[in-house]
């Protein structure tokens, strides 16, 4: 059965407030603040979103879905990776709360957001293996771990430059498989 009209409105208000406050103040805003901003009580927030993560996930649903899309049509898989990473970096810059979803350390159930992203990376890596433009030495989870640094970078005027170097480093390393062979175990 569909939600009641007031419930639907409250839900929407919560998502709007959440998106704004997460973007403005980071992933650790008090949930009470979000509820107050939306003009509802904290209980209503919990009724609609059982956890902070659930709220972030829905507030940034569009971005997560966008990261699930991979454009393999143009150029090599390495090109596709570069394009995908550009979007990833842009979200990391503007939607810092996404980091909590992507790199949470859940015992069993990792959040669906993470699954979507790992999935996208797997498709890119698989395409790279087919067209030979990417190494097969790292799996999607490895790549995601390498990108974790994006969320630890202090924001400021240097952020884009540093993030860009980080992303380029990852792409470059995934391109050349030769330099990785014959490494002594660490």
């Amino acid at each position: 059965m569909p939600l009641r009209a007031d419930a639907r409105a409250n839900r929407a208000a919560l998502l709007t407030s959440a998106a704004r406050l997460f973007t403005d103040q980071g992933p650790d805003v008090a949930l009470d603040a979000i509820a107050r901003d939306a003009g509802v009580s904290i209980a209503t927030l919990y009724r609609h979103f059982p956890s902070r993560e659930a709220l972030i996930a829905e507030a940034y649903g569009a971005e997560i879905a966008a990261l699930g899309e991979v454009d393999l049509a143009e150029g090599t898989a390495a090109d596709a990776l570069t394009r995908w990473l550009a979007r990833f970096v842009e979200y990391a810059r503007t939607k810092r709360a996404l980091g909590d979803l992507v790199h949470a350390l859940p015992e069993g159930s990792s959040p669906p957001a993470r699954e979507v992203i790992v999935d996208a990376l797997e498709r890119i890596l698989a395409a790279g293996a087919r067209d030979g433009s990417l190494t097969t030495d790292q799996d999607a989870q490895d790549v995601l771990a390498l990108l974790a640094g994006l969320w630890t970078l202090p924001d400021g005027p240097e952020w884009p430059a540093r993030a860009g170097r980080l992303a380029r480093f990852v792409v470059a390393g995934l391109k050349s498989s030769d330099s990785l062979t014959g490494q002594p175990p660490l």
Copy 2:
């Protein structure tokens, strides 16, 4: 003036308890629990260590100091980097709380632990620039950001393998400067 005898004993007890609880239960143990374990009150803990970070820093002082040491005597700078990273990875595995020190996002004052590590990496990179074994495309902070993934990896039986791949990837990328030139801006 030196500390009073009881203060010295309490301090030592706190550090012992902290090291054990941080290792056993992760970086987020309640400070009250550490104080209780050491047989002192929470106020005493705060008197000796003004913040959680200060406590971690002292509890893991030996490890941090060890990461400040760089052995450039044998082999190339790239070899030195590999050796240093092996130690870094080992600490990341056994002393998960160190991550909070290394990748905290302080506005102004980054903790001294981070400085020590950045310093060590800078010396290695400088040596690499001199002997030509490492690229100059990334600075020490970039490298540290790349290693952030170590702290987000879920611990489990796969941890060492994944961490090893991550570290090897970083070393490999820092070795070959050629594959990084001429990249289009992301």
